[in-house]
Symmetry: C2
Subunit: 209 residues, 2 copies
């Protein structure tokens, strides 16, 4: 075989297919290699894979809406969670982002509803209280019927700053304010944990029951 490295911009597929590979490669968890494999898979399974994926994307794209009650993103307003009568309306869990809501809710451990702030307070990034859905949260609490507000912010400086700010804003309302426990993650080995986590775990130590 006559081996030759070509130097002009040689294409092995049309620009349309290259563009699709590039778009897919930008998704988290995918790269150019897996995007290429995904496109090949789609092209091979046109009926059973490409068509249903395209239809699902189209439907979601057309109907995507931010829930007017909690700030979740769904294909209906109110969202599936706010519209669910079997969820306990007296428990409200406040999260930074929709991704945090998903992470918590798929555990199926929290029986109540949510409130999505849309970010966290950050002096560095110039995110102020009025940039987040905080007034709406206070209004929900002020409207009554809520017993507990769980501040489920990330265990970061900005997350905790946001939690403190929310605690101040919600002071005086007849609700129990709680936050997620900090400490050793399940399976965490002391040897591998950062000092911050160890300090939290030590500070919040509890009597052996």
């Amino acid at each position: 075989m006559h081996i030759l490295h070509t130097h002009y911009h040689r294409r092995m597929a049309s620009t349309e297919i290259e563009a699709l590979v590039q778009q897919l490669a930008r998704l988290p968890g995918l790269g150019p290699r897996s995007a290429r494999r995904a496109v090949l898979h789609l092209m091979k399974k046109r009926e059973s894979s490409f068509a249903p994926l395209l239809a699902a994307l189209q439907t979601v794209s057309e109907r995507l809406v931010t829930c007017g009650i909690c700030g979740n993103v769904d294909t209906s307003d109110p969202c599936a969670i706010c519209a669910d009568p079997r969820r306990d309306p007296r428990s409200l869990c406040v999260v930074e982002e929709v991704s945090d809501l998903w992470a918590l809710d798929k555990s199926r451990l929290f029986p109540g509803k949510y409130h999505v702030l849309g970010g966290r307070l950050s002096a560095l990034e110039g995110v102020r209280p009025q940039d987040l859905s905080i007034d709406a949260l206070v209004a929900r609490v002020a409207a009554g019927g809520i017993d507990e507000v769980v501040l489920a912010m990330n265990a970061t400086l900005e997350g905790q700053t946001t939690a403190h700010y929310l605690a101040e804003r919600l002071e005086g309302y007849p609700v129990r304010l709680t936050q997620l426990a900090h400490g050793l993650p399940v399976g965490g080995e002391l040897d591998y944990l950062d000092e911050g986590t160890l300090a939290q775990a030590l500070r919040a130590r509890r009597p052996v029951s």
Copy 2:
């Protein structure tokens, strides 16, 4: 927090979003977890990520076509490779699948054109010569203008059976038939290679130059 494992079928997103997660999770290299992350990413970046991906998929879906010359799948017929005047028409590389074509061509090492069989002969799966694009290959060779045909089948039993069959079918035509070398992969350690590869490497040993 009042912890409660719910037992009814509780949804955290609409069925449309769940359907999209499921479709994405079926792509090679993705699973339920990364599909969920991808959907969250798309929902968050509606303008910069969701819209362009959807448009790219739509375009490719509408234009996808099998090349009438080589059997490649592209958005034009003839495909980008067959239509490229700078590729050497005297070299033809025969591969089993479009994915093999992509794997080879992204190395940019082969200066010629391709022929995609659409599979491999397999008694087990009932794939016969007439199920593959073999007559079209013979016709291309018979039409003349081709000096070398590289049989780039997979190094599997069925791939090699297919290569032998093709060699028989192309006997008598004035073309040089070659196949990819078998042996140690680059970086391969003897200790970790299977016996089959070692046997091939030993059988095809060459004088030290």
